[in-house]
C-alpha cells in the first residue's frame, strides 16, 4: 500500500497507481514476464494450443444472433418484407412481360422463362448484400449491438456467422416470394422449389459473407457505394442473369465464368429448365467453395474489426 503523501511523479496525491512501491513498479515493468500479455494460446500445461479462428471458431450460439436479427425483422415485417420485394416484381413485369413481348425466344425458351432464374438470384444476392452491408454496419457502429453481444459468451465469429446466415435467410425469403409468382405464371415446377431455395441460401451466404468482408473494412457507409456500384451491380448485369453470356465479347467470357455468381445463375437456370448435367455438380462445387472462402475471410476480418 502506498502511503498517502508519498508523492511520486505520476502520483501527485500519493494514492499510488501501481499499488507497488516505485522500486517494485520499476522491477515489474522491467520484467519480461510483466511486459507480455497472458498468452491466450498457451494451455495450462504449457503446451501451445492455437485459438480457433474463422469457421472453426463458430459454435451453435450463432443461431442466437440469427434469431435476434430475425426477431427484430419480424417485428417490422410489413416495412421490412414488402419494399424489397417490389423491385424484383418490377423486373419480372418489365423484363419478362415487357421486353419479353419483343423477344420471341432466347436460349430455346421464352424470355420470361429465361430471365426468371436471373431475377431470383439477383434479388437474393441484393437482399443478402444490403443486409450484411448497411444492416450489419448499423448494428456494429451506430447501435453498438455487436459490442453488447460480444460481451456475452457469443464470440465474434458467431456474431458474423449469425449475420451472414440472416443475410442468406433474407435472400431465401426474397427468392421464395418471386418463386410463388413464377409458379402462378406456370414458369416453375414446385417440386424443384426446395432445391432452388437451398441454392439461394448458399448464394445468399456467399454474398452475405462478401458484404460482411467489405463491412469489416469501411469506416463510413458512403464507401459501400464503391462496392455496390463497382462490384454488385456489374456482377448482376454481366453474369448471365438477363441475357446469355454468349452475347458478351469472347475474351471476357472466361472472366464472367470466373465470377461464382455466373455459376449460381446458370445452375438455378439449369434446375428450372431441367437441364442439369455433370457440369452442374462442378458449378455447385465452385459456388460452395467460393462461399466457404468468403465466409472464412469475412469471419477473420470481422474479428479484427470487432476486437481491436
Amino acid at each position: 500500500m502506498t502511503q498517502p503523501g508519498a508523492v511520486q511523479p505520476d502520483d501527485p496525491r500519493g494514492l499510488a497507481g501501481p499499488h507497488v512501491s516505485g522500486t517494485e513498479a520499476t522491477a515489474a515493468a522491467a520484467s519480461p514476464a510483466a511486459r507480455t500479455c497472458p498468452d491466450p494460446s498457451r494451455a495450462p500445461d504449457g503446451a501451445r494450443a492455437r485459438p480457433k479462428r474463422g469457421i472453426a471458431a463458430v459454435g451453435p450460439r450463432f443461431l442466437q444472433v440469427w434469431y435476434r436479427d430475425a426477431f427484430v425483422f419480424v417485428k417490422l415485417w410489413k416495412t421490412n418484407l414488402f419494399p424489397p420485394l417490389i423491385e424484383p416484381y418490377l423486373y419480372l413485369l418489365a423484363l419478362g412481360l415487357g421486353v419479353g413481348f419483343y423477344v420471341s425466344e432466347i436460349d430455346g425458351v421464352d424470355y420470361l422463362t429465361f430471365v426468371a432464374p436471373g431475377i431470383i438470384v439477383t434479388s437474393a444476392i441484393l437482399q443478402a448484400t444490403f443486409e450484411c452491408t448497411y444492416g450489419s454496419y448499423f448494428r456494429m457502429s451506430f447501435q453498438s449491438t455487436f459490442d453488447a453481444i460480444i460481451s456475452t459468451p457469443v464470440n465474434p465469429e458467431e456474431v458474423s456467422m449469425g449475420e451472414i446466415c440472416w443475410g442468406a435467410s433474407r435472400a431465401t425469403l426474397a427468392a421464395a416470394a418471386i418463386m410463388v409468382s413464377l409458379a402462378a405464371f406456370g414458369r416453375l415446377e414446385l417440386i424443384w422449389a426446395p432445391v432452388i431455395l437451398a441454392l439461394q441460401f448458399l448464394v445468399g451466404m456467399q454474398f452475405g459473407a462478401l458484404s460482411l468482408l467489405i463491412t469489416s473494412k469501411v469506416r463510413q457507409t458512403e464507401y459501400f457505394n464503391f462496392f455496390l456500384s463497382g462490384i454488385i451491380f456489374p456482377a448482376q448485369m454481366l453474369t448471365g442473369a438477363f441475357f446469355p453470356l454468349s452475347r458478351i465479347p469472347e475474351m471476357l467470357q472466361p472472366i464472367a465464368w470466373a465470377v461464382p455468381l455466373t455459376s449460381a445463375i446458370d445452375l438455378t437456370r439449369s434446375i428450372m429448365l431441367d437441364r442439369l448435367g455433370p457440369h452442374s455438380l462442378l458449378q455447385l462445387a465452385y459456388v460452395a467453395v467460393a462461399t466457404l472462402v468468403f465466409v472464412e475471410l469475412a469471419l477473420r476480418h470481422m474479428r479484427r474489426r470487432l476486437i481491436g
Binding site: 502506498t2 507497488v20 517494485e24 510483466a34 491466450p40 444472433v65 435476434r68 459490442d147 459468451p153 470487432l306
Partner: protein
C-alpha cells in the same frame, strides 16, 4: 486506500503477475499498454478492482478510459502487460458468462419492447428469461411491454442497465449509465448500484458525472494520458488533511500578519476565496487555532475539517498536466 495486488517480495525473482494478485480482485492490470499505430492509448496501467465494490473510473476525454474498458471486456487486445478479469482472460467465454456490459451510446431497436429486448439478450447469454425481475429492479415493470421507441432517454438507459444485468453477472461494466437521467433517475440508478454492491456484485462505472461517482463509488481511479494517476478509496482521495476556516475577505497583507500569529508547529497556512486552510491540524489543536484567529479580530463564520469534492480533487490531479486546467476551477 487500496491494498496492493500482493506482488512477490523484492528479490524473489518473479515478476508480479495478475494471477498472483487476482484471487480477491475482480480486475487486476499490471503495466497494461495499448498502441494504436503511433498513438499510445495506455502507457502501462496498473489497476486493481476489489470484488464487491462499486469502482469509479474517471479521466478527461482521450485519457484512455474507453480503451481500458474495451480491453477489460475483451473488445480490444492489449499491446503488452498483464490483465486478468474475474480470474481469467478478458474475452474468454468463461469470463463473459459472468460479465455484464452496457456500452456507451448503446442504441436499442426502437420497435422492440423492453421485455423482448431482455429476453433476446438472455438467449445470447445462454440463460433463462429473467425479464420480470430485471424490469422491476430498474423500475420499468409497468413499461416492460411498451415499445422502446416510446421510452424516454432515461428509461432507455435504465433498460440498458437491466440488459447489462442479464445472467446475474459477477462484474458489470457501465459506460456512462446516468448521463441521460434526470436527478430522480440518477438517484434510482444509485440505489440500484448500491443494491448490486450489497449483493456482492462488482460494478465498474465509467462516468463523467463526478458527483454521481463521488456519491456511489467506494473506490475510484483517475486515468490521464494513458496512465492511472491516482486510485484508492473515495474517502481517502477526497480527504484533505487539515482545517478550513471561512473568515471572509481579508485586507491586502492581513493574511501574512495573521499567519505569523498561528502556532509555529503548524505547516504554513494558505488563503483563498475567503477561506484559510491550515494543513495538518489535529482535532486537539482546533480550539487554539480558532482562538488565535478570533483574538486577531477575524470574523470566523465556519470551521471544518477539510474535504474536497471529487471535482476539486479531479481538477487538482490534472493540474499542470493539461493546458487550461488550473486551480480556479476549484473555487
Amino acid at each position: 486506500m487500496d491494498g496492493p495486488p500482493t506482488p512477490p517480495p523484492p528479490g524473489a525473482g518473479a515478476a508480479p503477475t495478475a494471477a498472483a494478485a487476482g484471487s480477491t480482485a475482480a480486475i487486476v492490470c499490471f503495466d497494461l499498454r495499448k498502441n494504436y499505430r503511433d498513438t499510445l492509448a495506455l502507457a502501462g496501467v496498473d489497476l486493481r478492482v476489489e470484488r464487491g465494490s462499486v469502482f469509479g473510473f474517471l479521466g478527461p476525454n482521450g485519457a484512455g478510459k474507453s480503451t481500458l474498458v474495451k480491453i477489460l471486456t475483451g473488445l480490444v487486445h492489449p499491446s503488452g502487460g498483464q490483465v486478468e478479469v474475474l480470474g481469467g482472460k478478458p474475452g474468454s467465454r468463461a469470463v463473459h458468462r459472468r460479465l455484464g456490459y452496457l456500452p456507451e451510446q448503446f442504441r436499442f431497436p426502437q420497435w422492440l419492447t423492453g421485455r423482448e429486448l431482455l429476453r433476446l439478450h438472455a438467449r445470447l447469454m445462454g440463460v433463462g428469461a429473467e425479464d420480470a425481475r430485471l424490469l422491476e429492479l430498474v423500475g420499468l415493470d409497468a413499461a416492460g411491454d411498451r415499445r422502446i421507441g416510446e421510452y424516454s432517454k432515461g428509461m432507455q438507459q435504465r433498460l440498458g442497465l437491466a440488459q447489462a444485468l442479464v445472467g446475474d453477472p459477477e462484474l458489470v461494466f457501465l459506460d456512462e449509465p446516468t448521463s441521460a437521467l434526470d436527478p430522480i433517475g440518477r438517484r434510482d440508478v444509485r440505489d440500484i448500484l448500491t443494491h448490486l454492491r450489497d449483493r456482492g456484485m462488482t460494478v465498474f462505472l465509467n462516468s463523467h458525472l463526478l458527483t454521481e461517482v463521488e456519491r456511489v463509488c467506494d473506490r475510484l481511479a483517475v486515468i490521464d494520458k494513458g496512465s492511472v494517476i491516482a486510485q484508492g478509496a473515495t474517502t481517502d482521495l477526497l480527504q484533505v488533511p487539515g482545517l478550513s476556516v471561512r473568515v471572509g475577505e481579508l485586507p491586502v497583507g492581513a493574511f501574512d500578519a495573521i499567519a505569523a500569529l498561528l502556532p509555529s508547529n503548524l505547516a504554513p497556512p494558505t488563503y483563498a476565496a475567503g477561506v484559510i486552510t491550515l494543513p495538518g491540524v489535529a482535532a486537539g489543536e482546533v480550539p487554539a487555532v480558532v482562538r488565535t484567529l478570533v483574538d486577531a479580530g477575524l470574523p470566523v463564520y465556519e470551521v471544518a475539517f477539510a474535504r474536497q469534492s471529487l471535482e476539486e480533487a479531479f481538477v487538482q490531479l490534472l493540474q499542470g498536466r493539461h493546458p487550461g486546467v488550473n486551480g480556479e476551477a476549484r473555487a
